[in-house]
Subunit: 192 residues, 4 copies
Amino acid sequence: MGKGRLEAFSDGVLAIIITIMVLEMKVPHSDTLASLQPLWPVFLSYVLSFVNIGIYWNNHHHMMHAAHRVNGAVLWTNALLLFWLSLVPFVTAWMGENHFAQWPVILYGVVLMMAGISYYFLAHCLTGLHGDDSNFTRALGKDEKGIISVVIYAMGIGLSFIHPLIGFGLYVLVAAIWFIPDKRFENKEKEE
Amino acid sequence: MGKGRLEAFSDGVLAIIITIMVLEMKVPHSDTLASLQPLWPVFLSYVLSFVNIGIYWNNHHHMMHAAHRVNGAVLWTNALLLFWLSLVPFVTAWMGENHFAQWPVILYGVVLMMAGISYYFLAHCLTGLHGDDSNFTRALGKDEKGIISVVIYAMGIGLSFIHPLIGFGLYVLVAAIWFIPDKRFENKEKEE
Amino acid sequence: MGKGRLEAFSDGVLAIIITIMVLEMKVPHSDTLASLQPLWPVFLSYVLSFVNIGIYWNNHHHMMHAAHRVNGAVLWTNALLLFWLSLVPFVTAWMGENHFAQWPVILYGVVLMMAGISYYFLAHCLTGLHGDDSNFTRALGKDEKGIISVVIYAMGIGLSFIHPLIGFGLYVLVAAIWFIPDKRFENKEKEE
Amino acid sequence: MGKGRLEAFSDGVLAIIITIMVLEMKVPHSDTLASLQPLWPVFLSYVLSFVNIGIYWNNHHHMMHAAHRVNGAVLWTNALLLFWLSLVPFVTAWMGENHFAQWPVILYGVVLMMAGISYYFLAHCLTGLHGDDSNFTRALGKDEKGIISVVIYAMGIGLSFIHPLIGFGLYVLVAAIWFIPDKRFENKEKEE
């Protein structure tokens, strides 16, 4: 019931988020190679966010593929996830333009942590809907990666008060953990 | 006939509206936490509009799911709804940047009221097409929430002439009323 | 063959065109009603373009619904149509910001005329693919409206050299002609 | 498995890239024909990028249509392709605003060459997944056009150090080579 359109709407929002971020990279007025140099932090910030949104799309794709049904709670936790992800272009630009300064790095982490918590809620709404004993729930398992990510984000936020690069490094670590696609659902799909 | 593509086009437009609104939150040049403070009204404005567009998507999703057919009148009332919703990023930014001043709050209400009226037209075009005795029409019922919303918006517009925060409060009230997903269609879907 | 994805891609592009045009309406810094007044030509320009893109989506929807197949020529004439329509936000903004001055009105007409010619090419590629004796070709008929539109656009461009408002009036006339949905395909769909 | 949603997400991203590029053509404040003249290099740059993105969409469309399955590697090489293509609006604007100066032309070539290499990876991930003896792999053949494109891009980048217009000419040549739709998959589709 309505799963297809939820996927389509989420795809649309994620596709727009991932694409409009590039608009924050302001085109330099000069034509020299040197004029690109100040853009490096903005570009690095863009790459990290592109990978993060790509990871969310990928995992969302696998999770929704395994789901058989959606309900009102799923629609709204999905909207909550999209809300936090919609703030990614803003925090990406703020972090990039300020060369990974403390507060921008902290806010970037807060937005990603909230997205992680929303994703966790979404997964658990789907588990509740499908039942503890369903194929979906067995495929999802304990969702350790989701919990670990949120914990690392929280650590990254805290340690950014010492030095923002520690925070940034931990955000990259979370992306690296998730970069490996979620085998749980992929395996389940193969079995079907 | 063509229902799928109407849904896809509407999803696309709603996904873009909900996402480009974030571009109106201008990234501050300073990296201090204090530099974010002037953005609070813009952010609050963004949250309200995100919730409103989310509600429209949600209800549109449920209503179109229950519909079996569309015709020219449905396509054009749907376009009218999308037209008014396409103005939401503009009025959201105007209201946020001017800290909920009188005229921006009034215009925000006018745009949402017109969207509400368009949605009402769309619902009634679909009712006319499906017939008074159809499952669709029974599921839609008297559409009290739709009528109440338009009335509250009109009140909000009028009372903003006394103080804009009364208007803003009433717009939040409408969002709260709709936040609960439309049980009518959801129940009907379960029966099928 | 591939018709679904052509529709999806075209829907995506049209949805983005229709939505990003609103970004050209710059939010005024003042909160007075008077500060909105200079936006009237931009708004009027936006409304005309919204209606025009809506008409193209509507007719494209009906025509592709009737089509059974696409080939390389259809993909490229469709891309040509999308190219001209992608310039609509630019000419809309130029025309609106310059209060319907001569050259902006002429260029607006040129872009819409080129879009009209591209649509004509697209229709005829589809006719060629389906054969003269197909249901598709019978439904399309002589495509008088398409030819008339291009002629009126050409007249509008020419008469704008006398006064741009004559041109603008003729563009509105074309929109009015097309506003009535294309009954040919709708009837054909009913017969099926 | 999941092919439909991969196509939908890619379509969304490509549709947004192709459409937001037009936002880089800044609307002139004057209403004279002469005020459009400085936009010619930006427009020419836009046309080339529109054609290039159109070509990628077209070939992606044909290749994914022939594919029967996707896996994690396909999802990520597809994301890599979208990443490089997402930089096209940036390099298009930089090249156009600087009237095809040396470094912008070189960077434009680098981004397109990386997109070409990513497309090659994507094709070969799909070949690996479908097996050497599959219909898919037979349809793809040796992918000479893909390899030739990357070689011409590399030549264009190198020769831009002599004169950027040689580079630009070679990029146009690649577009011309691909403009002819990929007959391999089209023929295969007809046989099915």
